[in-house]
């Protein structure tokens, strides 16, 4: 039977069951329970846990573990994830795989402890140097988080990319009933070092960047074509389609259902992969849709770019406005959504694109 579990603990245990052999990290609220749980859990199982001297060291330790072909994990938030950007870029470049959990908290700089979605741009476009991409998963419930953890590793390993597990402070801190998956015992990854030079790796100065760029583009094209994940409802006849992910996505779902019940023709697209962005979801939308509305827990509206680009791609014959309702932090209340919607419908609030 499903049991009440705290999000961070459930995520950590799901990682254990997905076969994580190695964790390195540095505490930061609201992600710390992940590492606190693993500090106890991993050694019990004979697996490796390191509290590293910093987030920067942590991602490099993860890189070492990933290079040995095991499932490795790190988790952090806010500035801690910023410190991992160089490492994530290197992992991506070396086509090493791991999962980076970002329990997003609000704010620039030192930030706050509020739950938020303010790292969307960085996670979907990469905050390190270069033009790599990470697969970005964004669960909207603890159960979904738990179910996506194995997926996170499988996707990373299928494409040899880093998966960013982008969740929110509130999801990490809340409890709700959840059922844990079974244990899997992943084999050593084929490119993992064993000391015997079984996997031939090319030296960094011997690589052909031009050719690699082409391969990279092909890989990313494949991911875009194959791995878009989303949930949507009521989009076929919707006048307005909301787009929201994570906990706000779930909150918006409740509100749009209520609105439907009141006769308002609204629908919802809830991206589960933020990258690749679920452009395909837009193809199912009412051709006469009057607008898209993102609801995001950040200050500036970030996903609105991707929604506008998707809508430009899908609605080629006419202009469909894309609006943003950024609630800055926390979860958007019914009132916030309804007020914003009212302003949009009345024309009092202008579209972003």
């Amino acid at each position: 039977m499903a049991e009440m579990m705290k999000g961070n603990v459930a995520i950590a245990e799901a990682a254990v069951r997905a076969g994580v052999r190695f964790y390195a990290g540095y505490p930061i609220t609201p992600s710390s329970e992940i590492m606190e749980y693993l500090a106890k859990r991993l050694p019990e199982l004979g697996r490796q846990f390191i509290q590293s001297e910093s987030e920067l060291a942590a991602i490099n330790m993860v890189m070492g573990a990933a290079a040995c072909g095991v499932r490795a994990l790190t988790a952090s938030s806010g500035p801690g994830i910023s410190l991992k950007q160089e490492g994530i870029s290197v992992l991506s470049d070396e086509e090493l795989t791991c999962v980076v959990v970002n329990v997003v908290r609000y704010g620039n700089g030192l930030g706050t402890l509020f739950s938020s979605q303010c790292d969307y741009f960085r996670e979907t476009r990469g905050g390190g140097n270069g033009d790599y991409r990470c697969i970005v998963l964004c669960p909207s419930s603890i159960q979904e988080a738990v179910d996506l953890m194995l997926t996170a590793y499988e996707l990373a390993e299928k494409y040899r990319v880093v998966t960013v597990f982008m969740t929110e402070g509130a999801l990490g801190q809340m409890m709700e009933p959840c059922e844990l998956p079974d244990f899997v015992e992943p084999p050593k990854l084929p490119w993992g070092f064993d000391g015997k030079y079984s996997y031939k790796k090319i030296g960094i100065f011997d690589r052909d960047s031009m050719q690699e760029a082409e391969q990279l583009n092909r890989k990313y094209e494949t991911i875009r074509a194959e791995e878009q994940r989303w949930e949507s409802e009521n989009v076929q006849d919707a006048d307005y389609v909301f787009v929201a992910y994570g906990l706000p996505g779930r909150a918006v779902k409740g509100v749009t259902r209520q609105m439907r019940a009141q006769g308002l023709k609204v629908g919802l697209i809830r991206p589960i992969t933020a990258w690749p962005f679920p452009v395909k979801a837009f193809a199912e939308v009412n051709p006469g849709v009057k607008g898209f509305i993102t609801v995001e827990a950040n200050a500036t509206g970030q996903m609105v770019d991707d929604v506008a680009l998707a809508s430009k791609t899908v609605f080629r014959d006419r202009f469909v406005p894309t609006h943003a309702l950024p609630c800055v932090y926390g979860l958007p209340s019914r009132k916030f959504i309804m007020d914003g919607f009212g302003q949009i419908v009345s024309g009092a609030r202008k579209e972003v694109y």
Binding site: M61, V90, F193, Y197
Partner: protein
């Protein structure tokens, strides 16, 4: 009587170091020690960024180019996952002691069972000879154009001494590659360091004073002479933490 001397297979290739660069000598010594310890087919090299990166092509073993300065953290991740494989972090002085001091120090602090070999050529060789934390007082580099002013930049760091005196490590030593005798001693140190790891005694490190003729603006023999006359007096050679009898 003649003794056979054969370059170990894992390093029997051309490398792109400058003529007379100490990197070339040290990496051969490491390979020899690995061979002698039966570890040459059981080794991973996390490589620093610097002229050490040039090893990427020359070294036929598992190896990873780590972000600049972080090889000891990467090594830690590797060792924890492959505890029976010998892990050799191969780094320059800039890599290990400047940008990487936190990760380098912390591996020693944790007494992580890895070996870190640092090539100390008193500058950032690869990027054109900038000042490093081991640059000698008064030494002219591209970022200390009037000679290193230690009143502003601090005095050159002595890493093996630091870890030997402050942390609980298995082995720490410093050698130089200026003469056949010194080279033989360095080899002994490296072998001690690797043996400590194989025997799971904990962290081991060897710093090697090494010429960078290109950036020093000296010919190869002149560079060796500089090490003998100027550098060794500041950086004493020897073992600062010897292996304990077990």
């Amino acid at each position: 009587m003649a003794v056979s001397r054969k370059v170990p297979a894992i390093i029997d290739r051309e490398t792109s170091f400058c003529p007379g660069c100490g990197h070339g000598i040290v990496i051969r010594l490491i390979a020899e020690c690995l061979e002698e310890l039966g570890q040459d087919n059981n080794v991973i090299f996390p490589l620093g960024v610097g002229c050490s990166s040039l090893l990427g092509g020359g070294l036929v073993t598992d190896r990873l180019h780590c972000p600049h300065g972080r090889a000891s953290a990467v090594a830690t991740g590797m060792k924890r996952c492959e505890p029976d494989v010998t892990i050799v972090a191969y780094q320059g002085d800039g890599d290990a002691y400047s940008i990487g001091i936190a990760e380098t120090l912390n591996a020693a602090y944790r007494n992580e069972n890895i070996t870190m070999i640092a090539i100390n050529n008193t500058n950032f060789g690869m990027t054109g000879g900038q000042m490093s934390w081991t640059t000698m007082p008064g030494q002219k580099t591209t970022t200390s154009p009037k000679g290193r002013d230690c009143a502003v930049t601090g005095n050159p760091i002595r890493f093996p001494e630091l870890v030997a005196s402050q942390f609980d490590v298995a082995y720490a030593a410093r050698g130089a590659v200026t003469s056949p005798k010194r080279i033989a001693t360095v080899k002994k140190y490296i072998k001690n360091a690797l043996a400590a790891q194989v025997n799971k005694e904990g962290y081991s490190t060897v710093e090697v004073l090494s010429p960078c003729p290109t950036n020093w603006g000296l010919d190869v023999l002149g560079a060796m002479k500089r090490i003998e006359e100027e550098i060794i007096p500041y950086y004493p050679l020897g073992e600062f933490k010897k292996r304990e009898e077990r």
